[in-house]
């Protein structure tokens, strides 16, 4: 049965509408996975040498044992970010003659095939065989490997459970990060040493190999827990049981912009009420803190202004860059309605440009706080801001008219490549190249401030020409409208 289900997954991967594109992506991801695994193996074989070099004269087995729990703690964190929840569109299978337990077993088996489960094996097993086995004997080494595998599986199933739970109730997020944070903090402030604990546990295990049954037990409990949770929730209804009453919202300040304002309000609701655009917006806000990296005092002292201007463009333009990446695709689910509704294509395009202007203005105001570091930063950010509203936004809308792939805004954004395609890479390139092209002649021939002025002035000029740009963008949009509509209808 599991073989048939795996076979269906295989088919669904190859026969999905955009198999070609996702294949290219899979190859890229596959390449990185192989690289990661290869590094892990190489690390595993060199571990003995590395430890001897870094900790000369110390017992490397003890050092090694002290390292293991650290690894699994960070493993938990990494898994929480990147480990996929295995999903199978269970609906068609539920009514077939398949036992529920079989479906769940499939989900569990399928979930185990992921690179992150192999990293600890590749990392720890060579050392165990090369160093521990000769000293403590084969049986002990075997028990040691068993416990490493068990810890891996324990992490694997615990994370699946915690992730599923935190979808239902976000308190699980808080508790999860609280516990991990408490461990890290306790270790950092020397209340308790994770390293000593880890060393103690695993060295004890070397003396008494049968202790490896303990992690095995933990792994089994984690597995059963996950299994039972799935069994109880394998129904068509969403696991999500939030019954919070939804209230409508109205943004009165947008009223004076007429229809354009209505459309901007729509975009704001889209961002606030859907998972993927929301996380894009959150990330753009969080990355405002990048200023502390780009605006380092030594750059200011050394007068590396060119470094600051590109940093500023990036920081203040991040929303345009990332939200603009899927500008129309965010609305792919109701794009038919948008196009058939009583609003002209020009108004639609204009609303997007004004949304960018509005959000950029807010971000500019927020980022002006960096002025406390040095007032020149505000001047630089002003130039960057003008560039963003005048030129960056035009680039974003222009490239959006070439993106024909629908995306599901309800799904989370981490490692979600849905909607990515070749034009996206050209877009990314344009974002980097255009400001450099504007800056270089002035920055080289005169000085950095001339380059910054050029970026600001050109941005402002382009912004003043926005009506003209809107006409051009609308023309391009109307030309490719049918293609966009066709693409968005193919989900």
């Amino acid at each position: 049965m599991i073989r048939i289900l795996l076979n269906h997954q295989w088919k669904s991967f190859w026969r999905s509408r955009n198999a070609g594109k996702s294949l290219a992506l899979q190859i890229v991801i596959g390449f990185f996975t192989v690289y990661l695994l290869f590094s892990a193996i190489a690390m595993g074989f060199m571990l003995q040498k590395l430890l001897t070099n870094f900790f000369p004269g110390q017992d490397i087995i003890k050092i090694f044992c002290g390292f293991i729990l650290y690894y699994f703690l960070s493993d938990v964190l990494i898994r929480f970010m990147i480990q996929d929840l295995p999903t199978l569109t269970i609906q068609p299978y539920l009514v077939q003659n398949i036992r529920r337990s079989q479906l769940i077993r499939f989900l569990n088996v399928r979930s185990m095939i992921t690179a992150i489960n192999f990293v600890p094996l590749f990392l720890f097993i060579p050392f165990t065989i090369m160093v521990i086995a000769p000293k403590y004997g084969g049986l002990t080494a075997f028990a040691f490997i068993i416990s490493i595998v068990s810890f891996t599986l324990f992490n694997h199933f615990i994370i699946l459970y915690v992730k599923r739970k935190s979808i239902i109730n976000s308190w699980w997020y808080v508790i999860f990060f609280g516990v991990i944070g408490a461990f890290a903090a306790a270790d950092y402030f020397h209340f308790f040493s994770l390293r000593d604990a880890s060393a103690a546990v695993f060295i004890k295990m070397l003396a008494m190999p049968f202790l490896c049954m303990l992690p095995v037990g933990m792994a089994i409990i984690a597995f059963i827990n996950n299994y039972r949770f799935l069994l109880a929730n394998l129904y068509l209804e969403d696991i999500v049981s939030k019954s919070r009453k939804k209230e409508g919202a109205e943004y009165t300040f947008l009223h004076r912009f007429g229809n354009t304002g209505e459309l901007i309000g729509l975009d704001i609701k889209l961002i606030l009420r859907n998972k993927r655009p929301r996380s894009v917006a959150m990330i753009s806000l969080l990355l405002l803190f990048y200023g502390f990296i780009f605006y380092k005092p030594q750059y200011i002292q050394e007068g590396k202004w060119y470094f600051l201007i590109f940093g500023a463009i990036f920081i203040t333009g991040l929303f345009i860059i990332s939200y603009g990446q899927f500008l129309f695709a965010w609305q792919s689910a109701h794009f038919d309605g948008m196009m058939a509704g009583n609003l002209s294509a020009r108004t639609y395009i204009k609303s997007k440009l004004q949304l960018f202007t509005g959000v950029s203005s807010v971000i500019f105001l927020l980022s002006s706080l960096y002025g406390f570091l040095n007032w020149k930063i505000v001047v630089i950010q002003l130039a960057a801001y003008l560039y963003n509203i005048g030129i960056q936004s035009i680039i974003a809308v222009y490239f959006a008219t070439f993106s024909y792939k629908a995306i599901d805004i309800g799904r989370s954004a981490t490692f979600n490549y849905q909607g990515m395609s070749a034009e996206r890479w050209v877009y990314a390139l344009a974002i980097y190249v255009v400001p450099i092209v504007i800056y270089l002649p002035f920055g080289w021939l005169i000085n950095a401030w001339a380059g910054i002025t050029a970026i600001g002035v050109l941005g402002l000029t382009s912004y003043l020409l926005q009506d003209w740009w809107t006409d051009i963008l609308t023309k391009g949009f109307l030309k490719r409208k049918y293609k966009i509509l066709d693409g968005f209808r193919e989900k």
């Binding site: 409508g248 109205e250 229809n259 209505e262 009583n342 002209s344």
Partner: protein, 231 residues
């Protein structure tokens, strides 16, 4: 008035819509019938300029719908969920549509009052986003959103398929009333021959993209259609 001239649309070599000439007068209620794949939805999409015709044109009030956007203010349509903005509450959606058609909030509220029985208490103030409504209720929202625009031309794709029997009858009554009030031109596609003959003044029977019958509704129409669809 809507005029179709030499309209052809093909998908990968297969003809889906092929209408040489068709004229729809103001105030007609057109019932579009035909088996799956006859080209009804595609024809609707062409009228709304959502897909590009390979050849020919559709004129709405003398203007090609693919060239000018002048048809938008007086045309309303609901084909499927792709016309709803699913992360809004129904009220927000109605206000949004109202705003695009220059109707104030109070105006919209007034309008919605007359829909109380149609909604049957499960749409307004439900505390749900449209995406959380059942398919039938989503359809009600879509239809109300259309009528809210007080359109001159209305397009509904299989409105009876997703509605409960009571609402189907209410819809027929409502459409007839609205049609009588202002000479609305209505296009409805349906597989329900009883309903469609009851509501339409003219029936177009499509088969593989062609309009093979163009009937003015009278007491014989239903049996004529039933003859065609006989197994």
């Amino acid at each position: 008035m809507i005029t179709v001239k030499n309209l052809v649309k093909t998908y990968t070599g297969r003809i889906v819509v092929d209408i040489a000439a068709l004229q729809i007068n103001e105030g007609e209620i057109i019932g579009l019938v035909g088996n799956n794949g006859a080209g009804k939805t595609t024809f609707f999409r062409l009228m709304l300029d959502l897909i590009k015709a390979d050849r020919g044109e559709i004129l709405s009030g003398e203007k090609n719908v693919a060239v000018s956007e002048d048809w938008k203010p007086y045309t309303a349509a609901y084909l499927d969920e792709g016309f709803l903005i699913d992360y809004l509450t129904p009220e927000e959606y109605f206000y949004f549509v109202g705003k695009l058609n220059n109707r104030s909030k109070a105006d919209v509220d007034e309008f919605l009052k007359s829909f109380d029985t149609f909604f049957d208490g499960s749409v307004l103030k439900s505390g749900k986003y449209i995406r959380e409504l059942s398919k039938g209720n989503q359809f009600k929202v879509g239809i109300a959103g259309c009528l809210l625009q007080n359109p001159g031309v209305l397009l509904l794709d299989e409105p009876f398929a997703n509605l409960d029997p009571t609402t189907q009858l209410r819809l027929i009554k409502m459409l007839k009333e609205m049609h009588a009030q202002r000479r609305m031109t209505i296009f409805i596609s349906s597989h329900d021959l009883n309903h469609i003959t009851e509501v339409s003044t003219r029936i177009l029977l499509m088969e593989k993209g062609l309009i093979i019958k163009d009937l003015h509704t009278n007491q014989d129409t239903l049996s004529e259609l039933e003859d065609y669809f006989k197994v």
